[in-house]
């Protein structure tokens, strides 16, 4: 996460600092004050998404009046992915204007295999072809770290008819994406994450206890079976 240098900081109508403009004219929105827990959660979040090659918005830190804030990049016209917008893929012709539906599938797989960040915001970046990206930071409950909580597909929302319709267009390729994901879910990632957690001695035990459950073979089998079952029914 890079340290941001502000060109200017604008205030919202409620006169709270809201947007930071860097000298390169990038806009970063103030999210929340940073606490060490969050810093670790953020780096784990980034490592996992980077490892599975899912594009992520950039995050930055900035110190304002002795308080460190986390800021997230906000490109023009970005929108949240929601079942409401299923009209964007209601026909094959419209679906073809999405650049990387496979990325959305990978995001769901990460949610399923690493259920430690309570929610992840999936976003759609507008362009000639709209592309899916994941938000810059994990949305954690206030003042809480990561917590392992196995989720089923219903809770993830992937079984909603809107998403099913989207994935049905690429039904043939989904198995391959799953296999690629499974191949990448290996020991190196385990050691990378473990090393990252070890950098924060005060909370490392708590974090590692939560995180290592994702690598539990039983859990992996469960998650794999869940998604296999989903693909069969699709």
């Amino acid at each position: 996460m890079r340290e941001l240098k502000p060109l200017t900081i604008s205030n919202s109508i409620q006169s709270a600092p809201s947007v930071l403009l860097t000298p390169e004219m990038e806009k970063f929105v103030f999210i929340q004050p940073l606490y060490p827990d969050f810093l670790l959660a953020q780096s784990l979040f980034t490592i996992i998404h980077k490892h599975f090659k899912v594009e992520q918005l950039e995050a930055g830190v900035f110190k304002l009046k002795e308080v460190k804030y986390i800021c997230a990049e906000e490109p023009e016209g970005i929108i949240q992915v929601d079942d409401w917008m299923h009209c964007l893929w209601s026909s094959k012709r419209k679906f073809n204007r999405l650049l990387n539906p496979s990325s959305l599938f990978k995001m769901f797989l990460i949610n399923l295999f690493f259920p430690v960040f309570s929610t992840t915001q999936k976003l759609l970046l507008p362009g000639k072809k709209d592309r899916f990206v994941v938000d810059a930071y994990p949305h954690l409950p206030k003042e809480e770290g990561i917590r392992f909580e196995a989720v089923d597909l219903n809770k993830l929302g992937i079984t909603q008819s809107e998403y099913k319709k989207l994935f049905r267009y690429i039904r043939k390729d989904l198995r391959q994406y799953l296999e690629e994901f499974d191949a990448l879910h290996h020991e190196n990632l385990y050691s990378d994450l473990k090393y990252q957690v070890s950098l924060y001695p005060s909370i490392r035990n708590q974090y590692w206890n939560e995180l290592k459950q994702c690598f539990d073979p039983e859990f992996k089998t469960f998650a794999y079976a869940e998604i296999e079952n989903y693909l069969l029914k699709l």
Binding site: S10, S12, I13, S18, V19, L21, K27, V29, E74, E76, G77, I78, I79, Q80, D82, W84, M85, H86, C87, L88, S90, K94, R97, L123, P126, G127, K128, D130
Partner: protein, 254 residues
Amino acid sequence: MESFYSIVYYKTNALTDELLSIGLLAGGGQGPYLFISNSRLDLLKKTLHPNTFLSVNRHLKALKEKVDVHRNESAGILLFDPVFSVDQLDALSQRTKSAIVYSKPTTINEWLDQVFFEKLTQAFFGEHKKKSVAKRPVFHLKWKAFYYSNKFQEWSKDIAISSVIPDSVLNLTMDLFNHQERKIIKGIDFDLGKTSLNRKLYETDLIVSAFPNYDITIVHPSPKKNTGKTAFEETKKKYNKIDFIGFTQFKNLN
């Protein structure tokens, strides 16, 4: 179900902290209806990156289609309208914090139908929906689509005179050319502007002089304008060797 409306905003820029209202979504009654203000979209078009605007426009169009489909489908079951209910819109307005924002639904004390919705949008945006004028397709596009169809597989299409007569330097193309049957077909719309029509007639002149032993046919739509009618009569008189045939008739023959 009670009628309600929700304003659709677009967050133009995080720095200026502003929202531009671009549309109105109303549910209940005979709804749902969605109105997208074209003049406000024009404003957006001037300020957004072209690709972003393309995407936003696409999004809104898809949304409008969704609403329209829903309205037509639910005509039979008016009481059952789960997608566009107050609760749904309320939830939606809370979770969308991104570029396209929906305001909290507000109740309307009136039965919602097409006429009332138009009045409502007029009150919000001061803009009438323009009635679209049905455009007549242009002759030369229809003609080109026709002669490129499978019906003329044995003919050469858009072939230059110079490629048929090696000595010739003429680069102009003939629409349909059949060497074996010695036939040439060309399409001319006599309602064209003066310069374009003169150019077409000059081309015809050149073709006639270059291929004296060929049957030449001119396919044309029936002229509508007075200038077109006179030009057509004059040309017909001038070239008595050429066949003139109406486009509809020509289509029926082939």
